[in-house]
């Protein structure tokens, strides 16, 4: 493929199909308890897998990422909102990056 936008178009179409097929095909609740349980666990597992250890490598020093992880867990445990937890993580990283 010579035009870079051909690559973009290919991925855009394939990705859209991946995203839209299950949503449009499954419009009835699933009653099987194992499938239900699986789908209930999926979001939490996938978000956990994506968070760690990646958070350590997003920052210039791993220590800053670790600090963000700890602060994030502590604040989330105290039921702080999405925005507060996110901002606190950013601030702690910014502070650490300038100290180290």
């Amino acid at each position: 493929m010579s035009n870079p936008m051909m690559y973009v178009a290919t991925m855009a179409v394939v990705t859209y199909l991946i995203r839209v097929l299950p949503l449009t095909l499954f419009n009835k609740p699933i009653t099987n308890i194992y499938v239900q349980s699986f789908l209930y666990y999926v979001p939490y597992v996938t978000l956990a897998v994506m968070t760690f250890p990646t958070i350590l490598y997003e920052t210039n020093s791993q220590l800053a990422g670790l600090a963000a992880l700890i602060v994030g867990i502590m604040l989330a445990w105290k039921d702080k909102g999405l925005f507060q937890v996110s901002i606190a993580c950013c601030l702690i990283v910014l502070t650490m990056e300038y100290i180290i």
Binding site: L39, L47, N60
Partner: protein
Amino acid sequence: MEFKKGIKDSIPVGLGYFAVSFSLGIIAKNVGLSPIQGFLTSLFINASAGEYAVFLMISTHGTFIQMVIMTLVSNARYFLMSFALSQKIEEKTNLLHRMCIGFDLTDELFGLAINHEGKVNHKYIYGTYLVALPCWAFGTALGIMAGNSLPTKIVASLSVALYGMFLAIIIPQAKKDRVIGLLIIISFLLSYICKDVPISGGTRTILLTIIISMAAAIIKPRKKEENV
């Protein structure tokens, strides 16, 4: 009401998106994309690992088949999320809305929808898209324009906003449900152990998600009354 709530909840996502897509823009510039091309790429793909794969393919002159396989591998996890979301949106949501919801189903916006109390309405999801889509698309365009002029310390600190948001979604549920708490610890551990396995991040995410969630569903199926 639901629309406004969606907008408010997605502001941290928008910030994080801007940072991540800005850094993607720097890569896009290196493979020769213009700001408009970068804008279109982000607007129509909406996937960080996926777009990275596109830029890689452009620079290595990959074939069409390679591009398709690369897409399936880096974006297959959205299939699972779409499946899970099909059980979370209101049953009466019509086909057109379902097709629009599918357009910007990303890790973060999926997280927000799943975090919603009870069933989620399409208006809430559209609120989150309204913030996320422009932040993501303009971030890439600006990244291409600005190149490397923004301090890396600022970019680094913005990029953890997404993970902070993930934590804010999963940790409160761990308090309510011990099984989720245990699963998060297991997920962290296995993800750390597997971090050097030579497969793409997207593939690793999907494999670990399927294995851990399946094992949990078999060992600890939820009781009927717990299911919403």
